[in-house]
Amino acid sequence: MTKQSNIEGYDLPDEHGHFGPYGGLFVAETLMESIEELNEAYAKYMKDPEFLAELDADLHDYVGRPSPIYHAERLSRETGGAQIHLKREDLNHTGAHKINNTIGQALLAKRMGKTRIIAETGAGQHGVATATVAARLGLECVVYMGAEDIQRQSPNVYRMKLLGAKVVAVTSGSKTLKDALNEALRDWVTNIDNTYYIIGTVAGPHPYPAMVRDFQTIIGRESRTQMLEKTGALPDALVACVGGGSNAIGLFHPFIEDNTVSIYGVEAAGLGIETGHHSAPLCEGKAGVLHGNRTYLMADENGEIIETHSISAGLDYPGVGPEHAWLKDIGRAEYVGIKDDEALAAFHALTRVEGIIPALESSHAVAYAIKLAKTMSPEESILVCLSGRGDKDIFTIAKLEGIEL
């Protein structure tokens, strides 16, 4: 059932940040100078041995890398089919993959002499990861979060405040992640001299999609080595959830030229693609320009961005990283949808069968892996990126299931 592909010499984006027709640099002139400054710093420090050594040491000692790969034997057996392995990004400090990127960007910010960090957040994981590194490096931190998400993710809001960050409720538009991103961009143009904007996903203007990917590919690079050590072979399939798509690209990218490995990105199908209440631009969107890049997005026929829906705040975003748009178009990755109720069932399954409480975002990947495993043989393997832990979601789930805590 696995599909062969034949990609060679994959080296994107080009110097202007384009992945085919996607990506690029679609921002107002007011931001161009800062972005050029960032581009130069990023190009310089990603080749600087001292910077890379500091990053490696932090990832090891502070984040706790490498994260293990766990063979979910009982889940595999009960599912029947391929062996399911989990890349345990949930075991990172702060409980998700987001810190791989915030550590990297915060070190960059410090090298650039910036004293103030801003970030947007949806589920709050990126906000927490940003507030964490800001606390450690002694940088001022402001996190923009949609007013609706603040309601849904109150434990993370409190965590950010404990860490010394200021959390600003965004009440414009749909009051979710996309509006938080708009507000962070507005802050950035206003405070451009001392402020560094840590974008949490592989979206935004160039160089963010490439830079965030480069910081997240630690997931895939470790996975490659670990799977070879553990099973003697590369996995037959990779599965990761896709909101903006940073954990997914982090896992996928080092495997792009491994043509025996099938790649699946799992979007939030919400109440079902056919209902229109979802967050699945790659499954059911159209190319356009939002937040600084050209990509697939969810908009009405006039190009106005429409409100998205997902049980998971971290997937509730109308756009997607431009590299995913390109991987879809060239057929290297397949993008599928998992509905709210399927994700919820997978959340319970993994919790009960393996004793691992996954984030609702990651539960989408687990749900698809379970479906996929059933179509494969026990000799084959699937590697799932378990991008975050689910402690932050237990209140949401209890409420949905009518349980009072």
Binding site: L25, E29, M32, S172, G173, V289, L290, I305
Partner: protein, 271 residues
């Protein structure tokens, strides 16, 4: 000669600077916008910038964000904006109209289709906030085909290389964003604006319009001394939001502010 070039030429002859009001099309409805355009011309406007509402106006402050939300809630769209311009042109063939907005609605209509329709209804220029020169080749080529003028922004942070890049592509006029921030932010600092204007003028002969932070007649007059055009947006839109649905009150406020600006500007430029 384009309507924009004619406009700046005529103003030079009368020793005046262009007064450029910005309102969001469809806020609170299309008929108000149409009437307001005519009234603004009567109050002394030289060029009209019409905002195309967008769901995610990243470069705008709260005043224009809310205007966009009101306009979208009332059903406005890029097509609707073009309809308003078509109606405006039935009785006004002279006043240049420039659309200002974000790229995605134009992407969805298609560059070619948009440029053609815009030219057909009598749009003169288009300023798209989130398309810098680096990404604009395809769009400009569509505009060139139909005689639409691309208007570009420059900012306090734009260094020499960027000024040259913009100057090479821009037509009509260049819009200088007077401060670091979003529309409607704090008042601008005249000294730093004056210095930057001198720098920009070394690289272009195009008229320079200055906006962001122009709140009253006094600031407008000061800007008129150093630029070719004064753009006022958020201060006008405040007249609409403050009127709480009373359209006559909104219109009276807008006309009054523009007439005051016109008088104050003319007082410092006419010798």
């Amino acid at each position: 000669m384009s309507r924009l070039d004619n406009c700046f030429k005529a103003l030079k002859e009368t020793q005046q600077k262009a007064l450029v009001p910005f309102i969001t099309a469809g806020d609170p409805n299309a008929d108000f916008t149409l009437n307001c355009m005519h009234n603004m011309v009567k109050a002394g406007a030289s060029i009209i910038e019409l905002g195309v509402p967008f769901s995610d106006p990243m470069a705008d402050g709260p005043v224009i964000q809310k205007a966009s939300e009101r306009a979208l809630a009332a059903g406005m769209s890029l097509k609707g904006v073009l309809d308003i311009v078509a109606r405006f042109r039935q009785t006004d063939q002279l006043t240049p109209v420039v659309l200002m907005g974000y790229l995605n609605p134009i992407e969805f209509m298609g560059y070619e289709a948009f440029a053609k329709k815009a030219a057909d209804v009598g749009v003169d220029g288009v300023l798209t906030v989130d398309i810098p020169p680096e990404e604009s080749a395809e769009l400009i080529s569509a505009y060139d085909t139909y005689g639409i003028v691309p208007i570009f922004l420059l900012a306090p942070t734009s260094h020499e290389k960027r000024i040259k890049k913009v100057a090479a592509l821009a037509k009509g006029y260049i819009y200088y964003v007077s401060l670091k921030g979003v529309t409607g932010a704090a008042s601008l600092e005249l000294d730093s604006v004056t210095d930057k204007v001198k720098e920009i003028k070394q690289f272009t002969d195009l008229p320079l319009a200055i906006g962001f932070g122009v709140k009253n007649a006094e600031i407008a007059a000061n800007i008129a001394k150093i630029s070719d055009a004064v753009v006022v947006g958020s201060a006008l839109i405040n007249c609409i939001s403050d009127a709480n649905g009373d359209e006559n009150q909104a219109q009276t406020g807008i006309s009054k502010l523009l007439s005051d600006m016109r008088v104050a500007m003319d007082a410092v430029t006419k010798t």
